[in-house]
Point group: C2
Amino acid sequence: MQRVTIKDVAEAAGVGVATVSRVLSGGSASPETRERVLAVAAQLDYRPSALGRNLRQRRTGGMGLLLPDLTDSFYGQLAEGVLACARAAGEPVMVGSTGDDAEQEAELVGMLVEQSVDRVIAVPSGGADVWLPAVRAGMTVVFADRLPPEPAPAAGGGDIDALADLMRLDGVAPPRQGEAPRTTARGLDVPAVLADDRAGVRTAVRYLTGLGHRRIAYLGVPGHSRRVAAFREALGGAVEEDLIVYAEGSRDSAYAAASGLFQARPDLTAVIAGGNVLGEATVLAARELDLRVPQDVSLVMYDDVPWAELCSPPLTVIAQPGHDIGYRAAELVLRGGGRRPRTVLLPTELIVRGSCGPRRR
Amino acid sequence: MQRVTIKDVAEAAGVGVATVSRVLSGGSASPETRERVLAVAAQLDYRPSALGRNLRQRRTGGMGLLLPDLTDSFYGQLAEGVLACARAAGEPVMVGSTGDDAEQEAELVGMLVEQSVDRVIAVPSGGADVWLPAVRAGMTVVFADRLPPEPAPAAGGGDIDALADLMRLDGVAPPRQGEAPRTTARGLDVPAVLADDRAGVRTAVRYLTGLGHRRIAYLGVPGHSRRVAAFREALGGAVEEDLIVYAEGSRDSAYAAASGLFQARPDLTAVIAGGNVLGEATVLAARELDLRVPQDVSLVMYDDVPWAELCSPPLTVIAQPGHDIGYRAAELVLRGGGRRPRTVLLPTELIVRGSCGPRRR
DNA sequence: TTGAAAGCGCTAACAG
DNA sequence: CTGTTAGCGCTTTCAA
């Protein structure tokens, strides 16, 4: 694989390598020289080696993308968004799947460091202990879909604690109209592109309560703490703790959680599933327990995946723009996070189909 | 972002850089030196820069992964398989989504070349004109899920034609038991990891004919020519051409094709959808036209995606091991394709659920 | 066993 | 405007 190098082009064009470099990167050169170089380069089918450039510039172009699971259609959409933006910019994307595991995520971050990839878009699984070092090391990171989990409140909170504290959202206090929450880490601001979970969940809860439901359960993953928070907020004081159930990312875990929820609280009349894998599990568990949707239990699922419509009944969903989230995140990370890193909140939409009905019991 | 370099380690350990390099790559060194270097490296948290190494070795580690659409759950599974293998090997993966478009695919290949990524796993959309140059340039490529389309038979077939001809499968002639088909390009063998489409489709067809169906349609994408070929073969001479319909990769196109098929041939009683996006579209189109599944029309879909079970009725599918296909392909490409590139055929399985019934009309 | 030195292909000073 | 030159961090001869 004998590559054509810049030197070959230079020789063939009868100029110095620097000139070739300049011409190809849009620097100044006499029209005449420029033309000649371009012609020779084209004729030789010269492709500048990213290797050489990267080493010289001590950084790799492109970006890393770390997400929990490509098998989850929503993350597939998100990834497509990122790839679309990257392709438009001609940048490569290194993708890693974390399995929603902080340790694997940390390893993947390490790999990116090794590759000198200094921009990364992450649907974070790990907390400050993973992301703070990365940001400190000079990585431009943009979070997508969710923020790092808040650390368990620990006594004698040292460095990590303090920072992590700052990294989380400014709580659930209602922001002023149009104002986005902000992720901040001591002096290091990490931008994020998120769906407007607060609005999304609130709309769903209101819809459900409007149908007469009172014992509404929430099935979520720990990672999406904002959704649970929004659920609690939307329900006011009326939230019963055992109606909030968590599952890990896996389908098995999701099924177990859903099934367990139905059995522990047979009196519930509606459930909000905080993700499409969770929703899938909920449908399955309900069917297994002979609970009819929506007669016995109403269901609202996060993510408007294509099969939501195929389900029977078609699922009422909280749609979030996965593709856009990815695209915007990629834009942000390519732009270096921007001077004043803002958090972008993208709208959600409640799409009413057939999985919710009036309370019947 | 001041990286620790090999020089720093060398100085701190009081040895030359070459020694550090040797120690870290398992070369020979006195136990004493080795220990010291290792200690210093660990203490400094030294991570060798892939950039330096790659430039020196004139190749990037890791691999590229090119597939049509990450939004398609099957490709999500395949990607997860590739990523799993890559992670185990500590190798990075550059992912590109082609949208099932040869031109975009070619561009992405170009990007990989620019990055000096010389191993690539591809679910090919383009033909020999894309892949031959890549292989010629020294890339190790492994095809997954399908092979490049055969070129339209052209007169005066020149270089490309001849090669492409060789690159396709050895036709549909039944291979001896256990013998895999082979992809071969003049002197250049491209390994591939595929599902056993022949068996998969044949099983489905037999199942359907066993239920009494005679007018069975096949809805596919052009890319999976092996599946159509298998369909034709399984049906023997009885195949009616207008019962074979193609769609592009997009959901819209799939829906249009399915809907068109039902309207053009209202007499058909069963359809095999050659992919989950196609299956999804078929269900939608059938519903829109008030065709009941399976009373009015039976459906077998390729890909055992999670929602197949949630559909109503639950879909009978031809399952293929997406994860394994990806994993095996990654193994193969990391191994350099092997000396004698073989094509790996992974088993499919007909999973009978509720979308097929006896012929009723 | 070890160190010095020569690049890999490229860009960015710095001269001319 | 253009050529020369010095590395970026690493591996790999080649001597010592």
